[in-house]
């Protein structure tokens, strides 16, 4: 397992190669990238900001949880920060497992937890020149439900 917050372009195939092992029958690679359209607005790019030390800590905690819950050491996550153009990868998650069901589930677990817990923010830049911090929460911010058990 490995996690990293990086400011260089992500190379998905390198993460896929990193989780390969003869015991594994399935590998899942998730690549999140900058979309040209978000909620009807034309996006020209995204600036990712992070609370670096805490983001690294949370990403590591999430991957540790997945390693235990899904019983595979072969999970690697990289998240990029800084300015990204449309189409560039912001996050790559590679999971390999002897069985495909667990590989899918572990991959999904990691991205959902990452989006919920890791202190990373993005400011979308629009074609009209404006820019805005993205707030995925519908209502007021709440403590993540997993908080007490995750940070004993």
């Amino acid at each position: 397992m490995r996690t990293a917050l990086v400011s260089r372009p992500l190379i998905p195939s390198e993460l896929l190669a990193e989780v390969a092992a003869p015991a594994n029958g399935a590998a899942i690679l998730f690549v999140g990238s900058v979309r040209e359209l978000n909620e009807g607005r034309s996006v020209s790019g995204i600036e990712y900001d992070a609370y670096g030390p805490m983001a690294e800590r949370e990403m590591t905690a999430i991957v540790r949880e997945a390693v235990v819950a899904f019983d595979t050491p072969h999970i690697v996550v990289e998240h990029r920060v800084g300015h990204l153009d449309v189409g560039e990868a912001s996050v790559v998650i590679a999971v390999a497992h002897p069985r495909r069901a667990q590989a899918y589930e572990a991959s999904r677990f990691v991205i959902e937890q990452l989006k919920r817990r890791v202190p990373i923010w993005k400011r979308e830049e629009y074609l009209d020149g404006s820019r805005e911090w993205v707030d995925p929460t519908a209502g007021p911010p709440v403590l993540p439900a997993v908080l007490p058990s995750v940070h004993p």
């Binding site: 996050v91 989006k115 990373i120 911090w133």
Partner: protein
């Protein structure tokens, strides 16, 4: 005691700064620190109960702070 508070993203924008050094009484909690931040110019635009981390871990408003703690006010996260 002194506690440093970090501000990020939209919260850094509304307060016009990315960090602030807070002078707090012994026994002050996260909620007390938030009140100090809210008294700063722009601080009134913070939400009622923002997420907070202390020393890199999410923390509750009732958590007691210690001198030298690094507190961070965490806007809604949007990674991925």
């Amino acid at each position: 005691m002194t506690v440093s508070a970090l501000l990020f993203a939209s919260y850094a924008d509304v307060l016009g700064r990315r960090s602030v050094a807070l002078e707090l009484s012994a026994g002050a909690t996260v909620a007390d620190a938030l009140n100090e931040i809210r008294a700063l110019p722009g601080g009134e635009r913070l939400p009622a109960q923002p997420l907070v981390a202390v020393n890199l871990k999410y923390a509750r408003a009732t958590q007691v702070l210690a001198s030298g703690d690094e507190m961070a006010v965490i806007p809604p996260v949007a990674g991925g």
